[in-house]
Structures are given as structure tokens and as C-alpha cells.
Amino acid sequence: MNQQSIKLKRFLGETGELSRFVGRYFIQGGRPRFELRELVRQCYIIGVNSFPLVGLTGFIMGLVLTMQLRPSLVQYGVESQLPVMVGIAIVREVGPVITALIFAGKIASSMGAELGSMKVTEQIDAMEVSGTNPFKYLVVTRVTASTLMLPLLVILGDGISLFGAFIGVNIRSTTSFDLFFRQIIDNFRFGDVIPAFIKTFFFGFAVGVIGSYKGYNSSKGTEGVGRAANSAVVMSSILIFILDLIVVQITDLLGLN
């Protein structure tokens, strides 16, 4: 068997395993007993701890995007459209994707490393002998928390990003806070906001699933833990772009663009 065949076989094998993992999430997640206390704890850890990073990057992104767009708009004499352009770019695409990528870098790696080291040190087995279903306690809660928290972080990140854009606009000209946001909101359509919001649930789910999958199935040893953390970030980042591409195609087909 040549190298290509081995790689293809490994890829298909991993895809199958990942599909089973997702299936197990839905089957076990739907059955009582529900780990609500741990879910709330994970929502707090995932959501609150990610907020400063998401907020900071969102602010810089909004500011820089505005400053970069201005010269082109000035050249075509449509500088007045700057808030609308930046607003739509942030809400439709840049906000969700950049926030999801930052989220993947922080959350998928920590999930991969945490669950990987728990596996290596037999903590997952210890949970099982303590009357706990470790898949439910560790995986279902993390994936659900990640799915619920990313959309919230995107909303907050978009808000901060738009504030950064407002400051960016005011560096070279003067626009009131009220006028800036009214101009953006008046130009928003259903297709700008809703598909962009819905796709963040899928991004959050992908980050949670990949981070948990890589950690939960990491091979023994510290090298395995490192590899789990690293591949969780790479794989979830790629998956975010693939999902984004699919969502754009679907919204285009539905005439929402």
C-alpha cells in the first residue's frame, strides 16, 4: 500500500470515528441524567474566560478594518458609506469567523490538552468507577457549552468591533455615536444578520466536538497530549472555514445574500 493510500485510509478512518463521536454526543446528551451543574460551570469557563480575548481582538479588528477601508472609499467618493460597509463586513463575515478562530485557538486547544491529560493520568477511568459517565460529564457538557457560548461571544465581539469601527471613523472625521449606529442598523437586512448568527452555533459545535474528540481519544503520553491540543486547533480552524463556505453557498441558494 503506497503512502497516499495509507493517508486516505487514515483520513477515512478518522472521519468515521469523528462521526461516531458526534452520534454518541446526541444519543448520550439526550438521555437523563443531565449534568446541568457541570454545564453551567463549563459555560462560565468557556464564555467568561474567552470574553477578554474576543473583546480585545474584536476592538482592534473593527478599528483596523475601518482605517484600511477608508482610503478606497474616499477614492470613489463614498466615504459616507464607511459605517455601513464596515458594519456589514463585521456582522456578516469578519466578526463570526475571526471570533470563531480566536475561540478555536483558546478553547479547542485547552479542551484537547485537558481531556488528553485526564486520559493519560487515568482521571477519566477514575470518574467512571465513581459512578459517572465520563462522556456525559466531560464531553457533552463541553460541546454544549461551546455551542451556546460562541454565538454570545460573537454578539459581544461584534458590538465591541463596531465600537472600534466608530472610533476608527472618528479618527479622520466626526460622526456621532447615534448617527453611526443608526446608519448601520437602517441598512441591515434579514440576510445580513440571521444566517451570520445561525452559523456561529455550528462553529461553536465544531470547536467543542473537535477539541473534545482530540482530547478524549489522545494516545498515551505527554507527546500525545501536545499533539491532541495542536491538532484540535488546526482541525477546528479548518472546519470553521469549511462550514463558512457551506453556509455562504446555502444562503446564496436561498437568496439571502
Binding site: 487515568e122 482521571q123 477514575a126 470518574m127 467512571e128 468507577v129 465513581s130 459517565n133
Partner: protein
Amino acid sequence: MPHNQTYDIMTQKPPPSREAVITIEHLCKRFGSNIVLDDFNLTVGKEENIVILGKSGVGKSVLIKCIIGLLRPDSGTILVFGKNIPDMDHDELDRIRAKVGFLFQSNALYDSMTVRANLEFPLRRHWIEMSQQEMDSLVMEVLDNVGLAHTVDMMPEELSGGMRKRIALARTLILKPEIILYDEPTTGLDPVTGREISALIVDIQKKYHSASIIISHDMHCVKKTSDRVAILINGKCYAEGKYDALQKSPDPQIRQFFE
């Protein structure tokens, strides 16, 4: 000597007065083409400490993980309190696990939790009806039993290797198990701490009247803790008997462990 028969050495079965709490019959477990356990048989009596002796990688840990239901055997029966582990569903397994403690080789303390939270975890997860005050006093009682009451609010990373082992043992004891499975309890510890842990295992058996299976290579621990020793070779229970009797055996396969 044929390897498919248990070596016939004196007092190999639990004394008749001891009711069997674990009975393993014809247990087989393989990983791919690697046969780990092959027609393994063993009986553990009530309040009996039995040590499983064998070279590294022969399947000693696999055996106790099959007993607690962490691994599923390919064939054979594992009767714990008369119920066959491989036939049990999750709920039945959880009920049995509340009576069977497991001390992991790596201690498996939850490193994101304090010592107190580590000890309370099995109580909360097994839905044991208990007020917070009762839980606190039970936590302090088991910590006292292992001599580490002052560590109750510390994190596992702040403890030495020997202390972690004791805390792991305290967590195992908190449900007052009738059977305790020890996976290499003295591995990785210095000889002095290893001896302390061996003495603690004996004290625990006296205090809790528990039966134990102890996996160990440490001959001091084996001698100190065992009522009976079973030797695992080629996936089978090759020989079993009292420590002194096995030590005097002329069989080179047995003697290699005692030299």
C-alpha cells in the same frame, strides 16, 4: 509444567470459612493478536488480601480493570458478590462500583479540584443521601485514617507523591468499599513511603474488613500485605498460595519473583 493448570501449591483456595466475594472463571482478554488473559481463574474470599504477582505487561492491570468493568473481557465470568460483571448494564455497574474501590497506579486525582472536592466526588456521583455536615465529617474521617487531615483544602499539585497516594486511597475508602483493587500501590514511591503505604493497606483491611486484590512488583509490599499470592504467567493463574510457601517453591518460574 503445563501452563494451562494452576500450580498446585498448598492453601491455594480461600479457606472454607471465607465466603467468596470475587470469583473469576475462564477469563480471556486479548488486544488484537496479543492474548493477555487466557483462561484465568481466581477466587477471592471475604476480608482476604490477595496479591497478583507477574512481570510487567502480562495483564495484571487488565485483570482488575475487567473486574471493575472498565474493560470488557472477550469471554469468561467475573462474579462480584455473585453477579457477573460483563452482563451488567451501566446502572448495575454503578451500584457494584459503590462497593468496590479502585486505587489507580497514577492516583488519578482530579487536578482541577481540591482534596476535599476529590473526596466528595464519589459521594455526590453515587447519589448518596448525606448532609454537607455529614459529608465534611466523613471526609475528615478518611483523611485522618491516612494521616493527612491538614491537606483538606490543598490542591493535588501541592502534595508529594506519597501524599497523593494516600489521598487517592482516602478517596477509595470514602464509600467504605467491601472490596478494594490496588493497582501497583507502591510503584514510584521511595522505599520508606512504599513501606508506609503497605502498612496502611494492612491497617485498612483490619479497620474496614475489606477484601483486596493488590497488583504489585514490590516484594516487601507483597510479603506485608498478602494473605495469598497468585502468580500470573502467560495469561493464566500459574500458581497461588501463601507467600512463604511460594517462596520455597523449587519451580524456577516462581522462584524468579522471590530471588
